[in-house]
């Protein structure tokens, strides 16, 4: 069952991408596209990229090197869209609050530069384990590099928001959660592959990647489409006793 080209393998490669296209259509219809235009582009681009890769894998006429060239091209487009999506998430969480947005932008730039440096060093130390097909090793290393940066940036956004106790809206949170889980698991699997680990069991890592991606698509469905509980919209006044204490402090200042 856990073999390449098994029924489960076909399902895990095709189903999440079909679901993602359906999600993109529903986002379009529900006007969520105005709120998350980059996520809509992300959903369409990633789904099409993966379906093209699937077709390239199963069509016998497509040679191995051609498949990996398509993989490379898809990876570069995917990286651009993902980083734009991270920017959209950052804007949706912090953008409306000037007091932290400027600081956050400066810090995330610094974190981004540091991550690029770390990822470059990690890539420089990764071995090219298949001299006959360097394109494969290079693709693994590029994947590791992209997921390292993506994972770091998403982790920063989560921690920055948590430090300031800033709440997320459900859709932003769902997108970030799915993207974060996907980035962490993919970073781990691509790091193993890029560094020559599990040579004879790499199909298991592929299954892990595909299953994680499927779960993430379902997370996006849940957070973007299911109606969420309305949380105490009217019953959130400040407590009287708290205001009184604050008044007390201010009155002391006024009487100085």
């Amino acid at each position: 069952m856990l073999q390449a080209h098994s029924l489960l393998w076909h399902y895990l490669w095709v189903a999440p991408n079909v679901l993602l296209l359906i999600l993109a259509a529903l986002i379009w219809r529900r006007e969520l596209r105005k709120q998350f235009p980059v996520f809509l582009i992300f959903a369409v681009v990633i789904a099409i990229e993966q379906l093209v890769l699937y077709a390239a894998d199963v069509i016998p006429a497509v040679s191995g090197p051609t498949f990996w060239r398509v993989f490379w091209a898809g990876l570069l487009v995917e990286a651009l869209v993902k980083f734009a999506l991270i920017g959209e998430l950052f804007g949706s969480v912090f953008g409306q609050y000037d007091s932290v947005a400027n600081l956050g932008r400066k810090v995330i730039r610094g974190v981004g530069i540091a991550l690029v440096l770390v990822a470059t060093i990690a890539a420089a130390f990764a071995p090219v384990d298949n001299p006959r097909f360097t394109v494969i090793s290079h693709a693994h290393i590029l994947d590791q590099t992209i997921y390292l940066i993506e994972c770091g940036l998403l982790l920063f956004i989560f921690l920055f928001a948590a430090y300031f106790k800033l709440g997320w809206n459900n859709a932003s949170f769902g997108i970030a959660l799915g993207l974060g889980i996907s980035a962490c698991v993919h970073l781990a699997t691509w790091a193993v592959m890029a560094n020559g680990g599990m040579m004879d069991k790499r199909h298991l890592l592929d299954f892990l990647n595909m299953a994680t991606y499927h779960v993430c698509v379902l997370i996006w469905f849940y957070y973007l489409l299911l109606p969420q509980k309305v949380v105490t919209k009217s019953a959130v006044p400040l407590p009287e006793h708290s205001l009184a204490v604050w008044n007390q402090e201010l009155e002391r200042l006024l009487h100085q």
Binding site: G167, E240, L243
Partner: protein, 179 residues
């Protein structure tokens, strides 16, 4: 493979952090009702006294250098304790303000937005002030400014009171209401 091992560990830690943030968020959403009760009162006057540079200068003149450093460190630790409470209150107000943002009333939403913005700025300033205090603990003779934190706290009090008034117009908040 060593590099892979390091990256796998890093990825697992990142995943655990993201999932713990997700779990914490779900608990916060459920328990947002009694938030305001967690705001702790702060004696702003005592804090002002603590950060008054004239007081420091007076102590510096009156005490021998060794004793001054001991007293200064005690005052810095007290300052840090105050600022921890200020930061914690600001965090609560961020959540209270964000909950109020969802109300349909535009005036309440505006006041809530201002409250959240001020609370975030206060939390940011508190973080910077704490960093300076811990630095000053190492070098007690150095000076630093924590005054912006106090000013921000006062502004935040004003924003919170405005939001309180808008949400509970039947219960007017007056500075002279206290005995």
């Amino acid at each position: 493979m060593n590099l892979a091992f390091v990256l796998v560990i890093a990825a697992v830690l990142a995943l655990a952090t993201i999932l713990s943030v997700a779990v914490t968020r779900s608990f916060q959403v459920r328990g947002s009702g009694g938030l305001s009760g967690t705001i702790r009162p702060i004696d702003v006057e005592a804090f002002r006294n603590l950060i008054n540079p004239d007081e420091d200068e007076y102590l510096r003149r009156r005490l021998p250098p060794g004793q001054f450093r001991v007293v200064r460190r005690e005052r810095l630790r007290a300052m840090a304790a105050y600022i921890h409470v200020v930061a914690s209150n600001a965090a609560v107000l961020v959540r209270v303000g964000q909950a109020a943002l969802a109300t349909g009333d535009a005036r309440v939403a505006d006041a809530a937005h201002d409250l959240v913005n001020d609370a975030l700025l206060l939390r940011r300033n508190a973080t910077v002030a704490l960093a300076r205090i811990y630095l000053a603990l190492a070098w007690p003779n150095s000076g630093f400014a924590a005054v912006p934190v106090v000013e921000r706290y006062e502004r935040l009090s004003g924003a919170a009171m405005l939001l309180g008034r808008l949400q509970n117009p039947a219960v007017p908040v007056r500075l002279s209401a206290l005995p």
